[in-house]
């Protein structure tokens, strides 16, 4: 494993980051003690949501209209990119008492 071998990977990482359009934002939504926070988030199509699950339980972020269904393993962060505009109510399939709203503008 010479250092040179890491170069393509590093380049990919760098360019990967740079390739993201400047206007796309990364927004964090956290689950702690079975609560999505913030409960209401505004975002744009193309933005990335970082779903941070601080609980020891598996959660999901499941759109009521079927637009997305993100699995959130315990103590992990997963990301998803918003593809469609709309005011989306979402919930956790395992704990349907967990509810929040994501407003996505074009």
């Amino acid at each position: 494993m010479r250092p040179g071998r890491y170069l393509p990977a590093m380049a990919a990482l760098l360019f990967g980051t740079m390739a993201v359009p400047a206007h796309a934002a990364t927004i964090q939504i956290t689950t702690t003690d079975l609560v999505f926070a913030p409960a209401e988030v505004s975002a744009k199509v193309g933005d990335t949501i970082e779903w941070i699950n601080k609980d020891v339980f598996v959660h999901t972020a499941t759109a009521r209209n079927g637009d997305f269904d993100v699995n959130m393993p315990p103590k992990k962060t997963v990301t998803s990119v918003l593809k469609k505009a709309g005011t989306i109510e979402y919930y956790c399939r395992y704990h349907p008492n967990m509810k929040a709203v994501l407003t996505i503008v074009p």
């Binding site: 003690d33 609560v35 020891v56 399939r93 704990h95 349907p96």
Partner: protein, 173 residues
């Protein structure tokens, strides 16, 4: 419907009367034991359901129950260890375990769709009963702040399970 209600009422009365009968609110070591026992009971019911259930949603629900209740109980064990509290067996825990063993035996005799419906109906009733006990008795009685907080998280999890169970039950009809 009658069965479901009667199970809920029976479980509730056991939860509230046994501890109250002692004339004092339950102590933290007793509360920890009751909460842990409540989780163990639901895990046992779920393991039976994973074996017996025919309906895919019911089986998945049972797997969710095992996963969540094991996670809650692991947190409970970590907490009692940290607090150097030894969970203390008590009349409420004993009554709960006895009732659960009877229910498990009753469910064991059922098959197919009858079993699926009875298991999910009992899950709704059981979580409702435990939530009632948590809200009215266990959480208000807990003295240690960390124990109280874990019970509050437990309540939210159990409320979620109750709603989930109600959704599964509605689909079985």
């Amino acid at each position: 419907m009658f069965l479901r209600l009667s199970a809920a009422v029976a479980a509730l009365s056991i939860l509230s009367s046994a501890a109250l009968a002692q004339g004092a609110k339950p102590t933290d070591p007793q509360i920890a034991h009751i909460a842990y026992t409540a989780g163990v009971i639901d895990i046992a019911a779920a393991k039976q359901a994973i074996e017996k259930a025919g309906n895919k949603d019911v089986k998945t629900f049972a797997q969710d129950m095992v996963r969540d209740h094991e996670a809650v109980n692991k947190q409970a064990l970590d907490l009692v260890k940290k607090l150097k509290v030894t969970p203390e067996d008590n009349d409420t825990s004993k009554a709960l375990s006895k009732q659960a063993a009877d229910k498990l035996a009753e469910l064991a005799k059922l098959k197919g769709a009858d079993y699926d419906k009875a298991y999910v109906a009992n899950e709704v009733a059981y979580h409702k009963a435990v939530n009632g006990a948590l809200e009215t008795q266990l959480i208000p009685s807990a003295s240690n702040a960390e124990l109280k907080s874990l019970l509050q998280t437990g309540l939210k999890i159990f409320q979620g399970h109750q709603q989930h169970a109600e959704q599964v039950a509605a689909k079985l009809k």
